[in-house]
Subunit: 352 residues, 2 copies
């Protein structure tokens, strides 16, 4: 089968580019001498995570307990769950997982620590809990190194738990600030409880600056495996480094300048990530995807030297690939222009 | 089970509100004396479409062939597929469907008509094809009443097809312009080929103005069954008319003003629809969902008199409900505060 023969819309993943992205990124961390922990939320496919591990990754990161369960069932044995767990049911699921693999998780408040401690009371092994630090991104995380120290102490003294270190989801290009927070928190914790095993940073946008945060012992990134238009815009990759494309057909040419594609927000998502337009159409650099309905992409070809014909299939690099993976039951693996096979997105829809 | 006991994030659908929305909307069209054809893309659930039919709807509208197949398998017998079909495989699937139910579709160009004609050559019954008209929304559609007449003539003379009428997806609040286009096209077509059976308009935002487009013989709308924040903003419904909410838990309270929910773009979608913020939190009218990560909702409670506690469950009316349905394998049916049962979203992920 040729790409031209694939029914649209479809999500294509070029394994040649995937493998290059895996190798290139692993090399960054091999050279830095710190662990690399790919975030599986980008692809949600155990087989791809296996390639990441084989290239040298120390384990994986997952965002939700149901996502972690999919990977644990495939024998991944080092999983960091980067999300506050609160409900007794989710924590019971985490305890079951921890009997199968080396699970660790995070907390940014004492209620989460208390709930985890309650759930892991009497477990064979204590659960490793890292303190999530808000180093400037304004999402979750304790607000100061002192608060990190206090929470680390609480974890260290909680039944069923052990203190695993620090974790942050940093704002890109703020490495100095991130390092100041983490180094100070680590030193306070070392003075207080004598150990701070892991310091985990991350993010694909800042991946090439990872070395500037000297205190890190490991790095998490997800998007780098596929790359996307947002990372091109940040200068973090080139168009040819983008492994995932959405294949769409021009189903209408209502005017000379306008084309309508059979891929809308149900394939590309509405994520803008600060960009204008809803994706990059390969081969038509002046084209702008001006609007998306759920099943229609509206494209303005006004600034293009050539325009596509009705029925032409186009390949679109999405603004943000991670939510695109979550929209399809399967992606289609290719190598360059050769179609290999469809592959299930095993952890699609794992919201819990 | 109480709503409080549901693991989050979860998509709740209140059937009391659904039934009121169905009845109220059907009444609009009963009083206008035109047919009402609900668009199933909003809920993607055959059982709900059955309620819509029982209330008096003449049939259903679907956006993609795979979506139509899910409903045809549940014995819906009048389906309008509002999307240009081009590929031989999709048209072969449409032909199979047309053997089971009364299928009609649309075209806005001669290539689609030629492909449909080729695919339906020798069929027992000709396929009804409506001409899609761009009456100002700038998506698909022929650009003038004359072009509609010309394409209607082409359909009427194509083997395997019959001309079914006109269809438009109008821009809200432009009824005068829409009516002028459709009435002129209809009259040209009547002069030319003597028949123009159906004239199908639509859209939940303009539903209460449907009567202003006098030439319509039927109306399509989807979102009205659930309603959402975009329709509240347009004045098309009230907060209490919103049947679908996303239940989320406050998993972090990093600062006095900020809360982080366990529902992000993977539950609420990034659709803005011209609004600020990513949804309406019931019971906290001043709260703003300022940003979404995939699994985190960032909420600013600065302008609220009260703030939620860690672990509190909140109910969010999404900006746009249709893509939310597409993100979950099941919704949870409730009646007021009583939980009934989970229900599968049978046509989730039908992109083809």
């Amino acid at each position: 089968m040729q790409i031209e023969d694939i029914e649209t819309p479809a999500v294509l993943v070029d394994l040649n580019i995937v493998e290059a992205n895996i190798q290139r990124t692993q090399l960054v961390f091999d050279q830095l001498g710190i662990g690399f922990r790919p975030h599986v939320k980008t692809h949600k496919i155990p087989w791809l995570a296996r390639q990441q591990i084989q290239a040298g990754a120390i384990g994986i990161a997952a965002q939700k307990i149901s996502e972690a369960e999919v990977f644990a069932a495939e024998d991944f044995d080092d999983i960091l769950l980067c999300f506050n767990l609160l409900s007794p049911d989710k924590i019971a699921r985490a305890r079951s997982l921890a009997e199968k693999c080396q699970l660790s998780t995070v907390a940014d408040n004492i209620e989460v620590v208390a709930a985890l401690s309650e759930g892991f009371r009497g477990a064979d092994l204590p659960l490793s809990v890292l303190v999530e630090c808000d180093t400037g991104a304004g999402r979750c995380g304790v607000q100061s190194p002192e608060a990190a120290r206090d929470l680390a102490r609480t974890i260290a003294h909680a039944k069923g738990l052990r203190f695993g270190g620090l974790m942050t989801y940093p704002r890109p290009d703020t490495e100095t600030r991130v390092e100041a927070f983490l180094a100070e928190a680590r030193d306070l914790i070392l003075q207080d409880i004598g150990t701070c095993p892991t310091i985990s940073g991350g993010g694909s946008p800042s991946l090439s600056h990872a070395g500037r945060v000297k205190s890190l012992t490991e790095y998490r990134a997800g998007t780098y495996i596929y790359n996307d238009r947002s990372l091109i815009a940040r200068g973090a990759c080139l168009e040819n480094d983008c492994a995932l494309t959405v294949l769409a057909t021009v189903v209408s040419r209502p005017t000379h300048d306008r084309a309508i594609l059979d891929a809308g927000s149900k394939s590309l998502t509405s994520d803008l990530f600060g960009l204008t337009g809803h994706g990059l159409i390969r081969g038509y650099p002046g084209a702008e995807i001006t609007a998306l309905s759920e099943e229609h992409g509206h494209v303005d070809f006004r600034h293009c030297a050539t325009r596509p014909t009705l029925g032409e299939k186009l390949r679109i690099i999405p603004n943000h690939v991670c939510p695109v993976s979550n929209l399809v039951d399967q992606v289609i693996f290719t190598r360059g222009e050769d179609v290999w096979r469809p592959w299930p997105v095993a952890a699609r829809g794992c919201v819990i």
